[in-house]
Subunit: 356 residues, 2 copies
Amino acid sequence: MSDAISLDLATGVVALTAQLVDVPSESHHEAALADAVESALTGFDHLDVQRRGNTIVARTMLGRDERVLIGGHLDTVPANANLPHRLDNGLLYGLGSCDMKGGVAVALTLAATLTDPSRDVTYVFYEGEEVESRFNGLQHLADNEPELIVADLAILMEPSNAGIEAGCQGTLRVDVTTRGERAHSARAWLGVNAIHGAGDVLNRLAAYEPRRPLVDGLEYREGLNAVGIRGGVAGNVVPDECVVTVNYRFAPDLSEDDAVAHVRAVFDGLDVVVVDSAPAARPGLDRPAAAAFVAAVGAVPQPKFGWTDVARFSALGIPALNFGPGDPSLAHTRDEHVPVSQIESCETRLREWLRA
Amino acid sequence: MSDAISLDLATGVVALTAQLVDVPSESHHEAALADAVESALTGFDHLDVQRRGNTIVARTMLGRDERVLIGGHLDTVPANANLPHRLDNGLLYGLGSCDMKGGVAVALTLAATLTDPSRDVTYVFYEGEEVESRFNGLQHLADNEPELIVADLAILMEPSNAGIEAGCQGTLRVDVTTRGERAHSARAWLGVNAIHGAGDVLNRLAAYEPRRPLVDGLEYREGLNAVGIRGGVAGNVVPDECVVTVNYRFAPDLSEDDAVAHVRAVFDGLDVVVVDSAPAARPGLDRPAAAAFVAAVGAVPQPKFGWTDVARFSALGIPALNFGPGDPSLAHTRDEHVPVSQIESCETRLREWLRA
């Protein structure tokens, strides 16, 4: 802990975001930032602080009727000439500013300063969100110590323009393979062209009409897309195999199994192999805790189309929302930034709700 | 020229084939074999021998009314544990035995022993056939000294099961590209999927009915085939480009320009870029020299579907036929071999015709 970095949790959410951006924390290298977070939170009497790997859990233990989880990941994608932070015209630039150190700064500030919230709060600052699922600190807790993240509602501070994006769509990838028989292309009638056969796959995709189902009052938009195609042996060979990789983004009224069954039906008669999948998360806006939160922050919930860690809570039966500063489309860009006003707005509204 | 290899041109076509197989001559490494061929032919008074690089031209200069060219390439593809030769049950095995040292042995034997042929003969033993066109010794002659290969008829001793395969089909490769707009696959409606668009290309290919035109009395069979397809950015991105590589094998009633125009018409409205092409060769069976040869050797000419160097003669206005021992489908295989009887049959029939 020599050269340990010291965070000032009383400095205000914007200055704290800047401090956080300037502590590099690329995935697999979150230790320095996790040390700083642990050290900054450990001094408070109203918090029970636990550390697992580079994931920090800080809980109030006030015996309230309701418990809220507020979470944010500590890691970022690799730097892209966008460190250290800079502040320009109300925008805070820098790696991780939007995804999602602005949100982490809000959560840390609330953890430090809200000593007597109206609801018990579990703050989770976790590692390994930007890489494969097996490194995800939140998933490690869900797998090994789910009691640490039990809550009536989870709020992930993923960038959502300081609005509420509820639930998330699931994602399924499959390989659809057509087969044929090789031949020299000068004697093509001796073979069967597997790439020509893939026209059937592409025609079904082009004709497909994605659903736009209402789930808990929110309209989701599905999609079924070829995201890759490959085939070919050599410039003079009729190819015997063509593989189309298809990505199905499915609304939270379907389970992963439902999604697989649907895709198999679309490609009935063809060879379909599941490559990977992740479940959707229902918005859960019918749950009292979620409804109260929506009413309190005064935002009209929008559906979340992309996949986020809210699905991990959903799998535990915990309704979960995305609510954080920043435009999600700026995540992972060199020009990543977050509006100062959105960081402040998120803090203000969460603070009011946790005091009410 | 120390360690020079000595060929015995009087040993008979089968033994000579075996000698030739045992002199390695992978493309770009034909010098030792070219040295041996040059040395073996230079002693004969009835032959004018010229060397250009590793290509040897040996001509009779008897002032006959007609001149015939008999050609074979000296090079082979790389060895594949198939050296030295072995003779088994009437089959001569070994690298190059079929493609095409059996044919080269026939030509060398005729060159050495036919001192007074009824037609003047130009024997050409050339380098660089198995690699890119710019290394092809025959093409070098055609480009720089076409007078060395002037003839009324060219006979290439490419494997054709000791039958006559006339002319050859041309080959054209084009890239057909469809374009779209990238988007995150969770918000696919913001993009345009270029792979889905390629369904149009594949549908046209699947519906295409290849021609089977009669050219100089032979039925050719064309083919239009996707030989490759590629597209995709990442597993969560709607792709903005898909490229289908299409190979058109066209009959010798079309020029290369005709072939390009035809393919552009098939893919009308799509982005078509020519990758490479090689012309077809008309069988030329209507030419007196070719007709006389066919009658003399007593074979029913078949169309040649694949591309061979006969097209280089066709471009010079010289009718050209494939007539050599060996099954072309064994070329470039580890198990390459040639029937002894076919080597002998080719020699006998050529000798009789050149004496008549």
